[in-house]
């Protein structure tokens, strides 16, 4: 056997194992969901908001330049949550006359923006899972082909080496992607946490 074969064979085992692992955790409603964390497609307003009814605030926030700029800053993950909370408190303190309206619009903006972020992260994860499944299938097929080549009466060593190399790369890409998926699986939760913290700060600011 040539050297590359010895390297990739244990990796093929890993590929099969990794897919089996995600299959075990799967919720039948979401066959492409790759995470151990349960998939919650959408956060409801009531889960994070105990303030006044939003009414038409949902559409309004985008029309106001100040509000929509603040929403963008608050929703960005690079803004530390403490800074975001301070900005909320400062902004609402500057609107003593219509604090309630301002708070509602701000919340509506943050809620909509972060829910969209969540959806796009989740659909990205599911897209990656589908790609991974196809990649695993390809690795399985190529492994079978390789075994066929090796078992031939007069093995073509050049072909074997080329295919072994290719398999090594495929496996490595698969493995790297699996690692990224595991990391990204925490992102929806992190967004939920941020949404909750921002919502709490807005309600606090409306009461102060």
């Amino acid at each position: 056997m040539s050297k590359p074969i010895r390297i990739f064979l244990p990796l093929v085992g890993f590929v099969v194992f990794a897919l089996a692992g995600t299959a075990l955790a799967a919720d039948p409603r979401y066959p492409d969901w790759p995470c151990a964390q349960a998939k919650v497609p959408e956060v409801s307003v009531a889960a994070v908001w105990a303030g006044p009814a939003l009414d038409d605030a949902t559409g309004k926030w985008k029309d106001d330049a100040e509000t929509s700029a603040l929403v963008a800053r608050l929703s960005a993950r690079r803004t530390p949550i403490e800074d975001a909370e301070a900005q909320i408190s400062k902004y609402l303190a500057s609107k003593p006359a219509n604090k309630s309206e301002a708070g509602k619009e701000l919340f509506a903006g943050v809620f909509e923006t972060l829910n969209e972020q969540r959806s796009s992260v989740m659909s990205g994860l599911e897209r990656t899972m589908r790609k991974q499944r196809a990649a695993a299938e390809k690795i399985r097929e190529d492994t079978a082909t390789l075994h066929g080549l090796q078992d031939a009466a007069s093995p073509d060593q050049t072909k074997i080496n080329a295919l072994a190399d290719q398999l090594g790369w495929q496996t490595r890409i698969f493995e790297d992607r699996s690692k990224v998926v595991r990391f990204v699986c925490d992102v929806p939760n992190a967004i939920d946490q941020r949404l909750f913290a921002l919502s709490r700060a807005i309600q606090q600011g409306m009461e102060d």
Binding site: A46, A47, V48, A50, N189, D192, Q193, F196, R200, Q203
Partner: protein, 323 residues
């Protein structure tokens, strides 16, 4: 000169004495494998203690000298000396301890071992095993009656609250409640026993003398699906007038009139709220919010959330020093 020295000495003494006066809250962080210590005077985390694997049930001993924490994956209960926050000993809890209660005297500990269907009984002072009760079902929530005569054990399999005589260790009554009974709490005057059903979404109010359900508390939060309302922790004020029920992924604590059993208010606290504890003066109630990794402080008189404190990963239980 001596006056300055005296003043300085006094100031140092006051500075040292002030924080010691405030009760301390100990919070078990299930995923972080730590216990966070919160000063209830300043609401700041003053210490983080590394403990065993998967800490969940946590309780002060009645003398306030130790904090007991069940570390399920290490199959034991660790004792933290609260004078220096060091782990000093362990208790023979049996396999996978999740939750425990102690009698009013603080001598006997009852531990629920979910996996082997037993309740382990431990002598706290001697740190030795007194015996096991085969409860025959998965023990989950537990409570001791104020007079110490009855141990309540709720079971996920039977959907019952089992009444166990603490002298004979025999089951003397079974009361059927809603699905997945999770937590039990007595009113201080022994007039009522409250049992929360996590999946059923209700709290059953039981007459402990007659062993019958006398009322059932339901929760309704507009905009939330009913399956998001999962009652777990129950804390009732000493006068029995107000009760608080933690509603899990509803992110809220329900405030309930102790007499009429009507929900009067929902307080938004943190994500996936499970367990709670009162400060010794009864002025504040602390809640553990598992997913937002924080503890909320409720002002009991004002019925308002006044603070949230970041702790470790996945906070589960909380206990506050008796004073």
């Amino acid at each position: 000169m001596w006056r300055w020295g005296l003043l300085l000495g006094l100031a140092t003494w006051l500075a040292a004495a002030a924080p010691a006066n405030a009760a301390k809250a100990y919070v078990s962080n299930e995923k972080g494998n730590t216990v966070s210590v919160i000063d209830t005077g300043t609401w700041a985390v003053v210490n983080t203690i590394k403990v065993g694997q998967r800490p969940r049930g946590i309780e002060f001993t009645k003398d306030g000298k130790f904090v007991l924490v069940a570390v399920g994956d290490d199959d034991t209960i660790q004792m933290i000396d609260t004078s220096n926050d060091k782990i000093v000993d362990t208790l023979p809890s049996g396999a996978d301890p999740e939750f425990f209660v102690q009698d009013e005297a603080g001598k006997t500990l009852y531990v629920a071992n979910e996996n082997d269907n037993t309740v382990t009984i431990i002598d706290i002072a001697k740190r030795s095993l007194l015996g096991d009760v085969q409860v025959g079902v998965e023990p989950e929530g537990m409570a001791i009656s104020p007079d110490g005569s009855i141990l309540i054990n709720t079971s996920e399999t039977t959907n019952m609250a089992h009444f166990i005589d603490t002298k004979t260790h025999q089951i003397v009554a079974n009361v059927l409640v809603d699905s997945r009974p999770r937590f039990a709490a007595f009113k201080q005057d022994n007039s009522e026993l409250w049992v929360s059903s996590e999946v059923g979404g209700t709290v059953s109010v039981i007459d402990p003398a007659k062993h019958t359900v006398i009322d059932k508390i339901k929760f309704n939060i507009p905009g939330l699906r009913s399956e998001a309302i999962q009652p777990v922790g129950i804390n009732i004020t000493n006068d029995g007038k107000t009760a608080f029920v933690a509603l899990g992924p509803a992110n809220r604590v329900a405030v309930i009139d102790g007499k009429t059993h009507q929900v009067t208010k929902y307080l938004l606290v943190g994500q996936r709220v499970w367990h709670m504890a009162f400060t010794p003066d009864g002025k504040y109630l602390l809640t553990t919010n598992g997913l937002s990794n924080d503890v909320s402080v409720i002002d009991v008189a004002a019925l308002k959330v006044i603070k949230s404190i970041q702790v470790g990963e996945l906070p589960w239980g909380v206990t506050i020093s008796p004073q």
